[in-house]
Structure formats: C-alpha cells, structure tokens
C-alpha cells in the first residue's frame, strides 16, 4: 500500500506540473497570438466565458500573476477549460468529452493487444535466440522506426483504397447514428480495425525487444538453471521461472512509454479521420485554437497518469516486494 500511496503522490505532483506548465506557456511565448484569436471571438462571448478566457490566457493583466494562477487552478478544478474557437461557442470540456470515448476505445484496446502479443513474441525470441528468430530483430526495428501515421497511410492504401475491405475514414458509417444497436457497433468496429492494427504493428516492436532483452537476463539466472536441473518441463521453466520475473521490468517500461504510444495513436487518428482526441488536436492546430490545444494536452496528460496508476496497481499485484512495509 505504501508503494501505491507513493506513486499516487507522484502522479499528483506530475498533474500539478502539467497544469502549471499549461498556465505559463501562453504567458511566456513571444508576441501575443492569443490576443489575435481573442479578438475574433470577443464580441460574441458571454461575460462569464469572457472571464474564464481572460484568466486562462492572462489577457487581463490588471491582476497579479499569483491571483491569475489561483484563479486558473480554480477553473481547472471545476472542469472549466475555456471555450473552443473551432467549435465556438462550445466549451472545450464538451468538445473533448465528445472525442474521448473514441480515443479511449481505440488506444486502450490496441495498446493492451500490442503489449500482450509483443511480450509473448519477446519470450519466444529470447528462448529461441541464435536461431532464425533473430532475423525478427532487424524487421521489428524497421517497423518501430516507421512513423505510425505513415504506416496508417500504407495500410489505408492497401486495404481501403485498393482492396476495398475496410472504410476509408471516420469512426462509423454516416448511415447509422451512435446508439447501442448492433448496426452502430458493427460499423464502429469495422472502422476501428485498420487504425487499431496500425497502432499494434507500429508499437509491438518495443515490447518484443524489451521482453527479449530482459528475458535473456533471467534465462541466465541461477534459479532458472536450477529449475532446468530439477528436470522441470521446458514450458514451465520458460513461463513460471524466466518469463514471470522478466515481465516486471517490461511492465514498468510499458507504463513509461504510454505517452509515446498515445502520441503515435493521436497521429494515426488524423490519417484515418477517426473522431477522437487526436483528430480534434489536428483541427485545433489548423484553426489556432489555443484553448482546445491546451485542454487536450492537459486531458491526455491526466489520462496517461491514470493509465500509469492502473499499471502500478497491476505491478503491485504481480510483484510481492512492492507489498512489503517499507
């Protein structure tokens, strides 16, 4: 429990740093891009929204920096992220809420799949090292050096444009409305297969190589040798002795590289015009929608922290050492 409490404390600090960075970015940037955007919407904004906007971006310089900062923290704690310029006058929080389920579904499922397959293949690569399996290494590093979004373009060309097996873009067919009906769910799944496959293929190499490297280490340990000497079946030695110990460092790495995978997934969404947060971020960049951009940054950071916390809970369940009283 002490382990989880310490991790929770760390994530709270990280969330605070992210919020603080978010507060200072518009204030430290040269020029005043926000003023220009602000002038575009000033006439059509409600007094309450105007107030939120000036606090978030420091346009109202009559207040001291400190009171601006606490005003900003107060807004954030109430879930107020300002008004989107792209979808004016919808609040940023509603815009994000619209895209969130899509991203959670796509990125969540494909990340877990990629971790499971990659770890399993990594075990095989470690046990069978010195054979043809080693040829997988250059192949996987080639795959991991490909940008996710480019892989997405290739996948689209082959399977959507040329073969016509899957839809070209979007999250669901325009003929169905989002609801809990089979028609909608099957359409959504049909649209999710290609982007999910892109993320799995692009990110699998990391797990594979990580697991292979750690497992090479555990395979050389004395306890594995002893297990072999006892005449235990190969399968049992591999899974219960070597892999079980190797999986812990891989889990820790998994949590740390979530940010990178999520970044890649955001770009994948753009290629597939998938209606998640990544595509919103793209639209925000195109329209110089700073409130939306910053809201998305904050939201993604909080989600990654939450995912890290979940990974820690799993880690604590797998590793008895974390449960010791420190």
């Amino acid at each position: 429990m002490a382990f989880l409490a310490r991790r929770l404390g760390f994530y709270l600090i990280t969330a605070w740093v992210a919020i603080t960075v978010n507060f200072f970015i518009p204030r430290l940037m040269p020029g005043n891009p926000v003023d220009l955007v602000f002038d575009r919407v000033r006439h059509a904004i409600s007094p309450a929204a105007l107030h939120a906007f000036t606090i978030a971006f420091g346009i109202d310089n009559k207040q001291s920096l400190i009171s601006q900062y606490f005003g900003y923290l107060d807004q954030i704690l109430h879930g107020n992220l300002g008004i989107s310029i792209t979808f004016f006058p919808t609040p940023v929080s509603s815009v994000i809420r619209g895209g969130l389920p899509w991203t959670l579904f796509l990125v969540g499922v494909s990340t877990v799949l990629s971790f499971l397959f990659g770890t399993l293949l990594g075990m095989v690569a470690a046990v069978r090292r010195g054979t043809w399996v080693d040829a997988l290494l250059p192949v996987t590093s080639f795959l991991s050096a490909m940008p996710y979004f480019w892989m997405g373009l290739l996948v689209l060309t082959v399977f959507a444009v040329n073969l016509g097996w899957f839809p070209l873009s979007g999250g669901y067919s325009p003929t169905v409305t989002p609801s809990f009906t089979w028609g909608f769910i099957s359409s959504a799944l049909d649209h999710a297969i290609l982007p999910a496959a892109t993320i799995v293929v692009s990110s699998i190499a990391g797990w594979l190589l990580g697991m292979r490297n750690v497992m090479m280490g555990t395979l050389g340990e004395d306890y594995v040798l002893l297990a072999e000497a006892k005449g235990l079946p190969q399968r049992r030695v591999t899974f219960t002795y070597a892999a079980r110990n190797a999986i812990l460092p891989n889990m820790a790495a998994f949590a740390l590289s979530l940010g990178f995978i999520v970044s890649g997934a955001l770009l994948t969404e753009v290629v597939f015009s998938y209606p998640g947060i990544g595509y919103l971020l793209f639209e925000a960049v195109e329209n110089e929608d700073y409130p939306l951009m910053q809201g998305i940054f904050l939201m993604i950071t909080l989600l990654v922290l939450l995912a890290n916390l979940l990974a820690d809970v799993m880690y604590a369940a797998l590793d008895p050492r974390t449960r010791e009283v420190a």
Binding site: V21, P138, S141, A145, M146, P147, W150, T157, A229, V262
Partner: protein, 315 residues
C-alpha cells in the same frame, strides 16, 4: 568478464563497434542519408517549382513522379533530408547534454537535490511529449528548424538522464572508483576521468535513440502542419500529400518515399544503437549466447552446470 574490459579500455569499444555488422549496416545507412542531404540538392531542381504534369507516375523525367501541382517528388525528398537530420542531431545533442548534466549531478549530489532532480526527471518522463511539443510549437508561429529542435530537446532528455543516474550510481560503487577516492582524487577528477569515460558507449547508444526519437517527433509535427509548412521535410511532404488526398488519387509515389526514408534512417540509427548496446551489455548479444534450447531438452542440464562459470551445483 568482457564487460569490465570494455569499461576499463575506453577506446576499445569503438574498435569493437566498427567490427559489428549491425553498427556497420546502420552506419552505412546513416552515411547514405547524410550524403543525400548534403550533396543531393545540387543534383535536383527546385522542390517548390510547380509544373504542368500533375500526379505524373514515376518516369525517367520524374523518377518519383509529381504532386498535385506538378512538383517533382524526388527534388522534395532530397531537399527535405537535411531538415530531418539537422533536427534529429541538434535536438539529440541538446537533450544529451541536459541529460548527462542532470544524471551526473543527481547521482553525485545525493540526498535532497537527488530527490528533486529525480522527481523532475520522472515527471517529464510521464508527461506525453507530442501534445506538449504541439502546444509549445503551436504558439511559435511557423517556427524555424532550429527552434523546433530546441522544443523537441525540451521533451527528449528525461530517459537518458534516468539511465545516466543509475549507471553513475553503479559505477561509483566499483572498486576502481573507491580506490581513486582513497588515493585522494578530487570529485571533479573522478567524474571526468574515472566515470564519464566509462559511460561513453552508453551515452552514445542513448544519443542515437534520441536522434531517432527527435526525427520521428519532427515528422509528426510537420505532418500535423505545426511549424513552417513551406520548409521542405519528409513530414511536410506527408502533410501536403494528406491535404491533397494523394491517397484517393492512388499517388503512392508521393507519400511512400518520405516514410520509407524515415523508416530506413530510423532503422540505421536503431541498428547502431543495438550494436553499441551489445558491446556495453554483452548478455544481449545473440552471437555469444549460442545455447540453443533444443539441447536443453535432449540432454540433462548437468553438463551445462559444469561449464557455467559461477554455479556450484548443490550449494
């Protein structure tokens, strides 16, 4: 142990490195792209010049075809090479300097300063980099290549810093450092003459991975249209290809080459990283670990126990 050999002879690792096929292949790919970026632009025309042939297939006149406005794809590809390389190496150089400084100070200061530096490192490790870079670069309108490099460097250092701290803490406890300390060497001298030289293979391996990371982030930024969309880079080509719906027109020659170049350059860097990593950490080498599992099935483990260096059966 060869680990010790490598650590004790700082220049030995370089000689071993150039004999590794992985390092040589990677180096070959890297040199190819450096040459392409440096002397290539002299041989191709203006990448921004439009022409009458839109969406021309690859031909003798246009080896990689043309874009929707009749621009020569090969010219763009060659011209964009240098941007990827510059961003990659400049960002990685800045990030590595920050990382080494923070990692070393964290390990040597200890106590509260170490706690603070480690926490900062871990915080920046978890914050997702791409959205942060997008927000930063989004405010810097049409930021130049160098500004983009600095922004990427801000998010690229924590991983290396963490590894440097762990490695320094481990080296500090080695006997040779302890004896240097007893012999009265100053901390500065111990850091620069005993510790850092032995960390160079590690720093180099991390530098290569950071270059790859920076190149991929730059490509992502350019693809989103963050920064200058008129500076030719592989990411910018993909941005324009996506905007012109090159995909629906079946213009594969427009978006396949830039991604392929990114992947090849990335593979080269990754191979060099593996090669150097295997030298710094010989356990990872598959060539040395010729201990096929097939043998373990057929023969009892006893013969292995006898050859294994530090195992006493029945102890």
């Amino acid at each position: 142990m060869s680990t010790v050999d490598v650590y004790l002879r700082p220049r030995g690792w370089l000689r071993t490195a150039v004999r590794s096929p992985k390092v040589l292949t990677g180096l070959g790919l890297l040199i190819f792209f450096v040459l392409l970026g440096v002397i290539g632009p002299m041989f191709v025309g203006n990448p921004s010049a439009t022409g009458p042939d839109a969406y021309a297939h690859p031909s003798l006149q246009y080896p990689l075809g043309t874009t929707d406005t009749g621009q020569n794809v090969l010219a763009q590809l060659v011209d964009g090479t240098s941007v990827s390389l510059i961003v990659g190496f400049v960002a990685a150089a800045i990030a590595t300097v920050i990382a080494v400084a923070i990692g070393l100070s964290s390990a040597f200061l200890g106590g509260v300063p170490d706690e603070i530096l480690s926490t900062i490192t871990n915080v920046f490790l978890v914050i997702p980099a791409l959205p942060l870079v997008i927000v930063l670069a989004g405010y810097l309108h049409g930021a130049s290549t160098l500004v983009i490099s600095v922004v990427i460097a801000v998010t690229a250092w924590p991983w290396t810093a963490r590894i440097m701290r762990a490695q320094t803490l481990s080296l500090r406890r080695r006997d040779y450092v302890q004896s240097a300390r007893v012999a009265g060497e100053s901390t500065t001298r111990i850091i620069w003459f005993e510790i850092v030289p032995n960390e160079i293979p590690l720093i180099f391996a991390q530098f290569l991975i950071t270059v790859l990371y920076a190149i991929l982030i730059q490509a992502g930024l350019a693809f989103l249209g963050v920064g200058s969309v008129t500076t030719w880079s592989w990411g910018t080509m993909l941005y324009w290809a996506q905007n012109a719906e090159a995909l629906s027109f079946g213009a594969w020659w427009w978006f396949v080459p830039p991604g392929l170049c990114l992947a090849l350059l990335g593979t080269g860097l990754a191979l060099m990283n593996f090669g150097v990593d295997e030298i710094a950490n010989p356990r990872l080498s598959s060539a040395r670990a010729k201990r096929p599992s097939r043998r373990m099935k057929t023969k009892p483990a006893s013969d292995r126990a006898l050859t294994a260096p530090d195992v006493v059966v029945g102890a």
